[in-house]
């Protein structure tokens, strides 16, 4: 996956986890939870969906890497490069 594809995959997961939110104007560099309604259980859904869809494991210690869309892309691109 390219960085663009990784971003798109993460956005798709967030759309499913937070279906009432408008993601069209999201700022990639700001914390997701400051821009849309995402609680800790939603966040765990994102982790679960990465596991289910892409076999990616995100250890708890690395959850902060999923803070913003930009940090998601940086963190996940190496893990998804062969997907």
């Amino acid at each position: 996956m390219t960085e663009e594809e990784v971003r798109s995959a993460v956005v798709k997961i967030i759309e499913d986890v937070a279906p009432d939110e408008d993601l069209s104007e999201i700022d990639d560099n700001k914390a997701l939870r400051d821009q849309i309604e995402l609680d800790s259980m939603d966040f765990l859904d994102i982790v679960m969906e990465l596991r289910k869809r892409y076999s990616v494991e995100v250890p708890e210690a690395e959850y902060p890497e999923l803070n913003s869309l930009a940090s998601c892309v940086t963190y996940l691109t190496p893990k998804l490069k062969d997907k």
Binding site: V17, A18, P19, D20, E37, M41, D42, L44, D45, M48, R51, K52
Partner: protein, 412 residues
């Protein structure tokens, strides 16, 4: 009960396989329209079932539906509809004085089966088991989802009572109002059981699952060709208030709860005990200070099983056999067995009789079983009567739990 505050029904919210509002539901019943159809299941293919088609998103955000349960969605729809029907200005009332009491046959089987199916797609690796499973399956979940949706901070819980649960939800709500614990009760019963294959499989193994080439003909209490239960989903929640409070706000009063009883068979896990059922009916009559002939409609629990229907008929014959004013009917013939919602939905199917003096019929009785031939059984066509003053509603459940409600036509 005379010294306690009088409790009245002031609003009704429901979803049934043949209607999502009281008028639609009642009209379809009087027109003889069944709501039974079929459902596809994971492991058993297409099965006869009663399913609801209310708009899930009418009162819930998409995320609420995603996070919650089907039983929660049914409860939320019914609770909101009941409040609307009761013309209560909900935003202006003290939410800490509202209680939510919902009868359930069981809860959590749907979610557990879904998770097992889910992990089966991942080699049964439990790391794919959802973190939502616990909040979805705690026994207070359907009632709790109502409080989350409506911002209610008063008490909420579910009453687990097999298929007697709907009546028991209402009884609990009435008692909490009488004790002064709350000022408004959202009380009733729900069931989402068609979404679990286990209930179908278990009834089939027991030889108690209805089979018929025509789904609409499958639920046929009292007919010689009945062969089992039609599993259905549904919900019916009432707003209950103390009479004085209801009068103060000029509420429409659908009826007054004047008698109720709950008892146990202490006999068998599955088989009913008509003697104990009769004792429960008699107890409710005694509490209401009524004799059998005072009752105008007995809505039976009969589930379309060969033996259970006969046993209930024997019990009714004993108690109401000399009551010319008492008419007997069955609502499951239209909607199947809505489990935790059965008692409250079946009551709702009959409450309009207070206003139209029609006793709704039992459909699908093509050949009445002689063993079920009881006096004043209303079959296939509604019966016009002079007046309806009292309705007695039976709901019985597995492991031997019986519940009976008596509702009076409230007149000023």
């Amino acid at each position: 009960m005379n010294q306690l505050p009088r409790i009245v029904i002031t609003g009704i919210g429901l979803t049934a396989p043949n209607g999502n509002q009281l008028d639609e539901y009642r009209n379809n019943i009087l027109a003889g329209k069944s709501g039974v159809t079929t459902i596809d299941t994971h492991y058993m293919g297409e099965l006869i079932a009663g399913c609801c088609d209310f708009d899930t998103f009418q009162y819930q955000k998409k995320k609420e539906v995603r996070r919650g349960t089907r039983a929660g969605s049914i409860s939320i729809f019914c609770a909101n509809e009941a409040i609307k029907n009761a013309t209560i200005q909900f935003e202006n009332i003290d939410k800490s004085r509202v209680g939510v009491y919902i009868g359930i046959t069981e809860h959590g089987n749907v979610e557990t089966e879904n998770e097992i199916y889910n992990i089966s797609q991942f080699g049964y690796d439990t790391k794919f088991w959802s973190h939502h499973h616990n909040p979805r399956t705690v026994a207070n979940s359907p009632a709790g989802e109502v409080t989350l949706n409506l911002g209610i901070t008063g008490p909420h819980y579910c009453l687990g009572a097999a298929c007697a649960a709907g009546n028991i939800g209402l009884i609990q709500g009435a008692q909490m109002l009488q004790l002064g614990e709350v000022d408004l009760a959202l009380a009733g019963g729900v069931s989402e059981s068609v979404h679990t294959f286990g209930i179908f499989a278990a009834f089939k193994s027991q030889g108690a699952l209805a089979e018929n080439d025509d789904p609409e003909k499958a639920s046929r209490p009292f007919d010689v060709d009945r062969n089992g239960i039609v599993v259905s989903e549904g919900g019916c929640i009432y707003t209950l208030e103390r009479l004085d409070d209801a009068l103060k706000r000029n509420a429409h009063i659908y009826g007054e709860i004047v008698g109720h009883a709950i008892n146990s068979d202490a006999t068998d896990f599955v088989l009913p005990n008509p003697k104990r059922q009769g004792e429960c009916v008699q107890l409710a009559l005694n509490k209401a200070g009524l004799t059998p002939n005072d009752i105008n409609i007995v809505n039976t629990h009969a589930t379309s099983t060969p033996q259970g229907d006969i046993q209930e008929c024997e019990m009714i014959r004993k108690i109401f056999g000399n009551s010319p004013n008492t008419f007997i009917n069955n609502t499951k013939s239209f909607i199947g067995h809505c489990m935790g919602a059965a008692g409250t939905l079946e009551l709702a199917g009959n409450l309009p009789s207070f206003e139209d003096n029609l006793v709704h019929q039992t459909i699908n009785v093509d050949n009445l079983d002689p063993a079920c031939n009881i006096q004043n059984l209303v079959i296939n066509e509604p019966r016009k009567v002079d007046s309806v003053n009292y309705i007695l509603n039976n709901s019985f459940g597995m492991v031997g739990i019986n519940s009976v409600l008596i509702i009076k036509n409230y007149k000023e």
